[in-house]
């Protein structure tokens, strides 16, 4: 519970900081809508020539797009900003201030920055998702909803651990600020069901850069495609990766010597 209080405290600070630049709200809204419009435009063009893309109906792909925006928003709201700050603070030595706080440093580092306007992307994603589900006319049972939330959480944990592992590389190689950009450009591929891609790319998007766990698999849960092997696998992977990222963090921290020390 104390981590939640830390999060709230950071959230408050970030909101105070951001309210000084209120126009950012309008700009973020404009950019999110533009981004959504682009994605929907692309889908509209493709679905004038087919009504089934790799076995997915238009509204099922739309649900996937909703998940894509939802998770993308979560990543840019809380995961990526903290990790960017971590990389920066390892380089210039300001990580010192985080380490001296009387709470787990990993939690502080992970929660320290919140890009609050990204909440718009999350709302937009949810909106698209709900619209798609209504259009599909499918009754989402309790079990399916639970599976979806479970897969979304597992996907979130996998992405968080992946980001943390990449960011802790800064303890060994100081200049890694570009490394997080890899994820951004690869994440674009998550707009489409990964089953479209040829084997090598599908494995790459599943196990090397885990985009599939963030987008396709939660969407599969909603469109009754998820089998129990994938479900168990995703949960197991999220636990393993979380532990591995913790080990990376601990080992990396031992190498950190600070700027002033």
């Amino acid at each position: 519970m104390s981590y939640f209080r830390i999060f709230l405290a950071f959230l408050r600070v970030n909101i105070y900081g951001e309210t000084a630049y209120r126009i950012n709200f309008i700009i973020q809204l404009f950019q999110s809508l533009l981004n959504l419009g682009m994605t929907l435009g692309g889908l509209a063009i493709i679905f004038t020539y087919t009504n089934l893309l790799g076995g997915w109906q238009p509204n099922e792909v739309l649900a996937l797009v909703g998940v894509y925006f939802l998770i993308g928003g979560i990543i840019r709201l809380i995961i990526q900003p903290g990790m960017e700050q971590l990389i920066e603070s390892v380089r210039d030595g300001t990580l010192d201030f985080r380490l001296t706080k009387p709470a787990d440093a990993q939690a502080i580092v992970s929660l320290q920055r919140v890009e609050i306007w990204e909440i718009l992307e999350i709302i937009l994603g949810l909106g698209v998702l709900i619209y798609a589900l209504v259009k599909l006319g499918e009754i989402i049972g309790v079990l399916q909803a639970a599976e979806f939330v479970l897969m979304l959480t597992a996907g979130g944990v996998i992405i968080y651990s992946f980001f943390l592992i990449l960011s802790t590389l800064s303890f060994w190689f100081v200049r890694v600020e570009n490394i997080l950009v890899i994820f951004q450009s690869v994440y674009e591929a998550g707009r489409w069901p990964v089953s479209l891609y040829p084997g090598w790319l599908r494995y790459g998007l599943t196990f090397i850069i885990p985009v599939a766990f963030a987008t396709t698999i939660p969407a599969e849960a909603l469109t009754s495609r998820l089998n129990w092997q994938t479900l168990v696998g995703a949960i197991a992977l999220s636990i393993v990766l979380f532990i591995v990222s913790r080990i990376f963090w601990k080992t990396g921290l031992k190498r950190y010597s600070g700027a002033s020390a």
């Binding site: 063009i45 950009v181 450009s185 479209l196």
Partner: protein
């Protein structure tokens, strides 16, 4: 003229040294440049296969050829100035460039060409692998291949001048992100990067004829695919020349006005 050549040679050395220093960025950047056309290629291949092997006038091998050539044309004409200029204005780095006795666009052109020379072999290798992996085939007439070279150079020039001009928006606002993204979205649809333009709705096709984007990407691509008649090619060349003149005039006007409103922090 002589000192300009020296400038270009010197910029080439600097860029080369920097790119070897930041090898990781090079890999990351290459992934982005390759992945986007690859994703659309795969999506259209899936669509073509599910509708009997072709969509419009494009068969699966045509789609493969289209997106592989597109990847290369995009690589040759690509600029990153719109993302960089804001930093120059905001941090006042531009002041140094303004003190130099040559127009700052020259070092940007030199920098762009230098990094292309270094990255082109990588992109061509990837393109060749894709040609075999996706069974792409092109059979353009000889004249089309010959005209392709000047068409590509014109496309590079227009895109460079246009984006350099647009980057000047940073003189008036520090929030260029929204402008850049609007440009990027228009570019994506109207230059043929999402789909060959003949597959887009009719109004969008007409719009694409009136705007510069298609003449920078899909025109060179379709030319090399042997899909254009000589008359269409001449019209395209005319459009490219027209946009080159328009964009150079715009550049001069905007640059002059922009430098006047520029005030470096600390100066």
């Amino acid at each position: 003229m002589k000192h300009l050549i020296q400038l270009y040679v010197q910029q080439f050395k600097t860029t080369l040294a920097m790119m070897f220093q930041y090898r990781a960025s090079l890999v990351i950047w290459t992934i982005g440049q390759v992945l986007e056309p690859l994703v659309y290629l795969i999506v259209w291949l899936v669509v073509a296969k599910s509708s009997g092997g072709s969509v419009g006038s494009y068969t699966t091998t045509d789609f493969a050829a289209y997106f592989i050539v597109l990847m290369l044309v995009n690589q040759v004409t690509y600029t990153w100035i719109m993302y960089e200029f804001e930093h120059r204005v905001r941090e006042g780095v531009l002041s140094v460039a303004l003190l130099k006795p040559v127009h700052p666009i020259h070092s940007d052109i030199a920098d762009n060409i230098s990094s292309k020379i270094i990255t082109l072999p990588i992109m061509i290798t990837i393109a060749i692998i894709f040609v075999f992996a996706f069974h792409a085939s092109v059979a353009p007439p000889l004249w089309a291949i010959l005209v392709f070279i000047p068409v590509l150079l014109l496309a590079f020039s227009v895109r460079f001048v246009l984006e350099w001009t647009l980057a000047q928006a940073a003189f008036w606002t520090t929030r260029v992100g929204a402008i850049n993204q609007s440009y990027f979205v228009a570019f994506l649809f109207l230059s043929g990067q999402i789909a060959p333009l003949t597959l887009l709705p009719h109004p969008v096709q007409i719009l694409s004829l009136l705007l510069p984007f298609r003449w920078l990407i899909s025109f060179p691509v379709e030319l090399l695919l042997g899909r254009l008649t000589m008359v269409e090619t001449l019209i395209g060349l005319g459009a490219q020349f027209g946009w080159l003149i328009v964009s150079i005039i715009l550049l001069r006007i905007v640059w002059r006005a922009g430098v006047k409103v520029y005030t470096a922090v600390g100066a």
